[in-house]
């Protein structure tokens, strides 16, 4: 017998996890929609934010200050990444850019392993995040509420930026037609650096949520979530921002509900079953849940 409280509980978990995937998928989508690069070094931006959190804890800074510093650290790293690694290959093929992003990821991982530690480092997380709230019949972890609230704030802020702000609108214009955007006086350098800053910010917030669940940071911590975010971005429709959110949420739901309701004998096949579901959705909707506009225009 499945009771309502359990479903509600898992719903909260699914939104919390899906929201984190959504933020990461959004970061990948923002950069991809502007310059056609799938940035696999996105995970290392998370790792950098994780280490900033760790360092802040070590020197005794309050968590409320550590979070914005971690997000800023990921933003700066993203902008530096673009300037140093991706600008020289901006007009190269998609494959060249992809390989460049792998190189950036590996170089950073080796640097983390040698300059910080190959092993997982504890990150001090404030106690209140590990407490739970009791609402009616069910218990909900404060860290889940924290994740959901922070995700919602980010999504609303991003939506406002993209629809109300001149620079956000320019970013959407450049994603749709880069040459015509340049004709309007929108500078390629500015809009690409802006896209990276935005993706860094999203990776930084996702890292805070990821680390808050685990209480540790390690050199490879970004790999799994970004792989999941990549799947989510494809599921949603690569390059589409709304699709990235839909894909992230969908993947979060699939994972959490399989973990909760799959019979225990089947649990070891959870990941392949989740991916099979993703493939099934893509068979039905090959361009993803909410395809990017540029792709639609091409098809028309």
């Amino acid at each position: 017998m499945i009771d309502a409280a359990l479903i509600l509980q898992q719903l909260v978990n699914a939104i919390a996890l899906g929201g984190t995937y959504a933020l990461l998928a959004l970061g990948l989508a923002v950069v991809f929609s502007i310059m056609g690069l799938i940035n696999f070094a996105h995970g290392e931006l998370m790792t950098i934010a994780g280490y900033v959190l760790m360092a802040c804890g070590l020197i005794g800074l309050p968590f409320g200050l550590a979070v914005p510093l971690a997000v800023m650290g990921a933003m700066l790293a993203a902008v530096a990444m673009e300037r140093i690694a991706f600008r020289p290959v901006r007009n190269a093929s998609a494959a060249t850019m992809l390989v460049t992003s792998f190189a950036v990821a590996m170089i950073l991982q080796v640097l983390f392993q040698n300059l910080i530690s190959a092993r997982s480092q504890p990150v001090i997380i404030p106690d209140f995040l590990s407490t739970s709230l009791q609402i009616g019949g069910f218990v909900i972890g404060v860290n889940k509420v924290f994740a959901i609230v922070l995700t919602m704030i980010m999504l609303v802020a991003l939506e406002l930026f993209m629809t109300r702000q001149k620079h956000g609108i320019a970013m959407r214009a450049a994603a749709e037609d880069f040459d015509v955007a340049r004709l309007m006086g929108i500078r390629a350098d500015t809009v690409i650096a802006g896209a990276f800053a935005l993706s860094g910010m999203l990776a930084g917030v996702a890292a805070v949520l990821w680390v808050a669940q685990r209480g540790s940071a390690d050199p490879l911590m970004g790999f799994t979530p970004v792989l999941k975010a990549f799947i989510a971005a494809i599921l949603g429709g690569l390059g589409s921002l709304k699709g990235a959110v839909a894909g992230g949420m969908m993947l979060g739901f699939i994972e959490v509900f399989l973990a909760a309701f799959l019979p225990s004998a089947w649990q070891e096949f959870r990941e392949p079953i989740a991916l099979s579901l993703v493939v099934l959705i893509l068979v039905a909707r090959p361009n993803g849940l909410i395809p990017a506009a540029a792709l639609k225009a091409q098809k028309a």
Partner: protein, 240 residues
């Protein structure tokens, strides 16, 4: 002293790899003119336009605008100079509202009063855009999208507006509207350089025209004279 022309191309060359799309052309456009650039598909007309505004690199020769050498200057800097292109195929931002498309046209402008004036001018020319300002540009009809593409280009208050095939794919009635609009724009001190395959209609409104074939200028002169030449050719050679 002679006033320098608004636009001057000297020996302009454009290549795509081994292919020479434009082979050393000279074009002069004076202030207040409507000049047509005519020719068949693949003659190099669009390459010429894209190269003037910096979207395609100059392989040889020079581009002068308003007494300034702008050869190979990046496209982003053109609106500030007062030079813009309404590209072939309209290319409005379909996922942006009509209003946001216009806002992007004024992206390079910083003077708020000038931007407000530009909106007023565009809405005055195209009342339909004012009516549909909150609609996504992708949902407009072809003719309305062409109005928006021209309106968007006008938002930077250009001295010279390049138009690449403004009548392409439009119904005959809308085509007439577009051509009469070009005359209205000239009356408002916008100099126009127009690529057209619709030769008869282009020559009817242009002051002068250049004819391109295989990357070269093969004929040029006052539009009236070129109209007569065409009529003569039609009589003797049975064209058209």
């Amino acid at each position: 002293m002679r006033v320098a022309p608004l636009l001057e191309l000297r020996g302009l060359n454009v290549r795509y790899g081994a292919v020479e799309a434009v082979r050393g052309i000279d074009i002069v456009i004076e202030r207040g003119e409507i000049v047509a650039l005519l020719g068949a598909n693949g003659a190099g007309k669009s390459s010429t336009m894209n190269t003037i505004v910096g979207l395609t690199p100059v392989a040889g020769g020079r581009v002068f605008f308003d007494q300034d050498d702008i050869t190979n200057r990046p496209a982003e800097l053109m609106p500030q100079l007062g030079l813009t292109l309404a590209p072939e195929g309209r290319r409005v931002f379909g996922t942006l509202s009509v209003e946001d498309n216009l806002a992007m046209g004024a992206y390079a402008a910083s003077d708020r009063a000038a931007i407000r004036d530009a909106y007023e001018r565009v809405f005055d020319l195209f009342p339909i855009l004012a009516e549909r300002r909150r609609q996504f540009a992708g949902t407009l009809s072809g003719g309305q999208q062409q109005m928006l593409a021209i309106g968007r280009a006008l938002m930077c208050s250009p001295k010279l507006l390049l138009l690449d095939e403004p009548s392409l794919g439009l119904a005959p009635k809308i085509v007439e509207q577009v051509f009469s609009l070009l005359e209205t724009l000239r009356a408002r001190d916008v100099t126009l350089f127009v690529v057209e395959q619709n030769v008869a209609q282009a020559l009817a409104i242009a002051d002068r025209a250049y004819m391109m074939a295989s990357g070269r200028i093969v004929d040029s002169g006052p539009a009236a004279a070129m109209r007569d030449e065409r009529a003569l050719e039609a009589v003797y050679l049975g064209h058209d």
